[in-house]
Symmetry: C2
Subunit: 229 residues, 2 copies
DNA sequence: TATCTGTTTTAGTGTAATCTAATCCATCTT
DNA sequence: AAGATGGATTAGATTACACTAAAACAGATA
């Protein structure tokens, strides 16, 4: 097999890799300042860490441009994401956590659990494919489902959609989404959008009309279930 | 309320406190070199940490004598021990871990879990009083049962006992104990002891005779259920 | 009482991670 | 084309924790 030595990564390194994965998943490069903002550290701290990470071969750094994960870095990042999402799912399903309260707990546990524990949790849950927010859970082998989803804030008026993923860090927002019935799996039709970054209005199938502000609507990712084919 | 600020303790600090608790639970002082041995660090590292811990008021240090926990330090140590034992119990009962495999996992998780998670686990388990090795679990309030137990290696020949606690770090030893039927709750009678730190022979009630070497017999703690009263 | 022995502590380094202040440089504006 | 602007980087300090090597000390022995 490969994986020569696999020096154990520190907590910090694991956090950086996860953030870089998220930031570079769409566009190619993750910018220093964006990494700093997400991790709530000062930009120079990022520069320092970036140097070490690229020396270890986990990322590639183009000065003044940004960073990208290498194959090795991507593998490590997906491992952490699997841990996080399995933990979130386990905590909600087995220990009575609400979907708005699991994030922080998982965030701390993901650095401490063993592979064995994660796989036992996954087994207990029947190897789930999605976490409580609808995000896909990478497999133990490191594969992740990549479905094309529309950001609700950008979906055309008239679109018929299924809400798949609710992305939000803040518990208060998640609680609000839940109250509004905006949870993964719900069907909806986009009925209106106000200009100048205005709100999107949707008809929740079987539950009435909702007006969703731009900021929140950017965290809602939907599958197009239109009329077609 | 009390507890003015409660600066969060680091992993290392938590480990030191736990070890100091164990070492000073019987005799009064924990020696630098014993702490170093348990934590597998060099003695000077302990001296350094001891200085900081006594400055923070978690321990009291008598130079060249050793250290003792303060009230505050004891509270913190018992909190960690509760975490550890609840985790061990949860992992064995809910996630199929064997009693010989839980220690390391709990050791890492105890620094990461929240109070909330521990209490949810405890609740799921019905607030257990003992961990899989028979050790008493401190309450959330910080009280711990202190039963007088006899070390099997020191129990008099003829004593009729109930095995209460099996103390061993090494998974291989724990597995051996389990194979021998030496698990918490079992009744036994001491039938012989060889001189010069020789082995103890016991009759396991309903399971036959066992010869236990001195070293192992020091990890077996029993309650005297003698003939009396 | 003087010395030996082994433990403890001090001194000085190293690494991982952070910070602030100062500098550098790519790009946008005029 | 020349600045101005703002993000990125370097420089230097700090904290927590570990280490090795050297000094200090307490208690046992002669």
């Amino acid at each position: 097999m490969h994986a020569v030595h696999e020096a154990p990564l520190t907590r910090s390194v694991e956090d950086y890799l996860k953030v870089i994965y998220h930031l570079s998943s769409q566009g190619g490069f993750a910018a220093t300042s964006d990494i700093a903002a997400r991790l709530e550290v000062a930009p120079p701290s990022v520069s320092g860490m970036v140097k070490r990470l690229s020396e270890t071969g986990l990322i590639e750094h183009v000065p003044y441009r940004g960073v990208q994960l290498t194959q090795q870095g991507r593998r490590a990042a997906l491992k952490m994401i699997r841990r996080h999402r399995i933990l979130e799912t386990y905590l909600t399903q087995q220990l009575g956590y609400d979907w708005d309260g699991v994030h922080d707990e998982a965030e701390r546990l993901e650095h401490a659990v063993s592979d064995q524990l994660i796989e036992r949790m996954a087994g207990t849950l029947g190897d789930p494919h999605y976490d409580p927010h609808g995000a896909p859970i990478p497999t133990a082998a490191g594969d992740i489902e990549e479905t094309e989803l529309l950001i609700l804030a950008e979906a055309p008026v008239g679109a018929v959609l299924e809400l798949r993923e609710v992305e939000a860090q803040d518990p208060a927002r998640l609680r609000y989404f839940a109250e509004q019935g905006l949870v993964p799996g719900v069907g909806l039709t986009v009925t209106d959008r106000q200009p100048f970054n205005g709100p999107t209005t949707v008809l929740l199938h079987g539950a009435g009309v909702r007006v969703v502000g731009r900021e929140l609507a950017q965290g809602l990712r939907c599958l197009d279930t239109g009329g077609g084919a």
